[in-house]
Symmetry: C2
DNA sequence: TCAAATATGCAACTTTGTTGCAAAATACTT
DNA sequence: AAGTATTTTGCAACAAAGTTGCATATTTGA
C-alpha cells in the first residue's frame, strides 16, 4: 500500500479524533484538501486492510473508526466491542472495554459477526 | 392519522413480507404506484406512530420492519429483539424470539436503547 | 354535504456514492 | 539517481438517495 499524502492525512484525522467519523467529517477535517472520491477510495482501502471498521447506524450516516489491537488480532478481523451513540451530542464512540455479549441464534443460523450499537447519553453530556 | 390508499398499500407490503424492507423494496413492491416522496413521508409517519422500526446497517441501506407486540408494549417504544442479516441472500429479518442481552456501560453513561445486528448465514441459505 | 385538516404529487434541489479516464505521485529496478 | 511500471489522485459525468415548498387532491368530522 503506497504511503501518500492523502492517506497520511486521513489516518492523522482518525488518530486525533476520539469519536467515530462520517465521510463528511473527514472531508471537512482535511479542509476539503482532497477530492471526495479520494476519500471514498481511501476509506475503502483502509477497511480492506483492516485499519478501520464501519459502525452501522439508522441515520444513513455510516461512521468509521480506527481498529484497535483486539480488532486486528487472531488471524481474521473481528470487531468485538460495543459502540455508543450519544443522542445529545451525536458523537459515536467505540467502547473498547465493553465486549459484545454472545447470543444464541435459532437452529439453522450460523453466526459470523455481531454488531451492537447502544444509544443514550454519554459521560460528558450527562454532567 | 388518515387512512389513505398509500398507507394501506405500504402497510400491506410490510404485512406480507417476512423480511425487513428498504425504501427501494417498498417502492417496487407498490409497483411504483406512489411517489418516492410519499413513501419517505409514510415511512416517517409509521415510525413516529410506532408501527415500524428501522434496522441499522453499514451499507447505507436502512431497512424497515413492522413492530411486534413486545415492541409496542409498556408505554414507550422499545425494540428489544435481535436482527439478523444473511450475507448470502442479503435478507434482513427480525428474530423476535432472540432477546438482546443487557450490557453494562462504563460509569457516567446512560442507556436508552440497544441495537444488535447479527450477520451470518440464514436457515434457508445454509441448506 | 361542506369546510377544515391532512396527505399526495410534482418540480427543483442537495447530498451521497460510483465509474472511467488521463495526469500525477509513488514504488521498484538497476 | 534515473527511468519505468504500478498505483493513486482529481476531474467530469453520472446515478441514487433524501429533502423542501407548494398547489392539488383526498380524508375527516361537523
Amino acid at each position: 500500500m503506497s504511503l501518500t499524502n492523502g492517506r497520511k492525512s486521513i489516518l492523522d484525522v482518525f488518530l486525533s479524533s476520539k469519536t467515530a467519523l462520517t465521510h463528511q467529517d473527514i472531508e471537512s477535517k482535511c479542509s476539503n484538501q482532497f477530492d471526495r472520491v479520494t476519500i471514498y477510495r481511501t476509506l475503502q482501502t483502509f477497511i480492506d486492510k483492516g485499519l478501520i471498521h464501519t459502525i452501522p447506524s439508522t441515520d444513513s450516516n455510516i461512521r468509521y473508526a480506527l481498529c484497535n489491537e483486539a480488532c486486528l488480532g487472531s488471524g481474521h478481523h473481528h470487531d468485538n466491542h460495543v459502540h455508543f451513540k450519544c443522542e445529545r451530542c451525536g458523537d459515536t464512540i467505540c467502547l473498547d472495554e465493553v465486549t459484545v455479549p454472545v447470543v444464541k441464534l435459532p437452529s439453522g443460523y450460523s453466526l459470523r459477526e455481531i454488531n451492537m450499537v447502544v444509544s443514550g447519553t454519554c459521560r460528558s453530556c450527562k454532567k
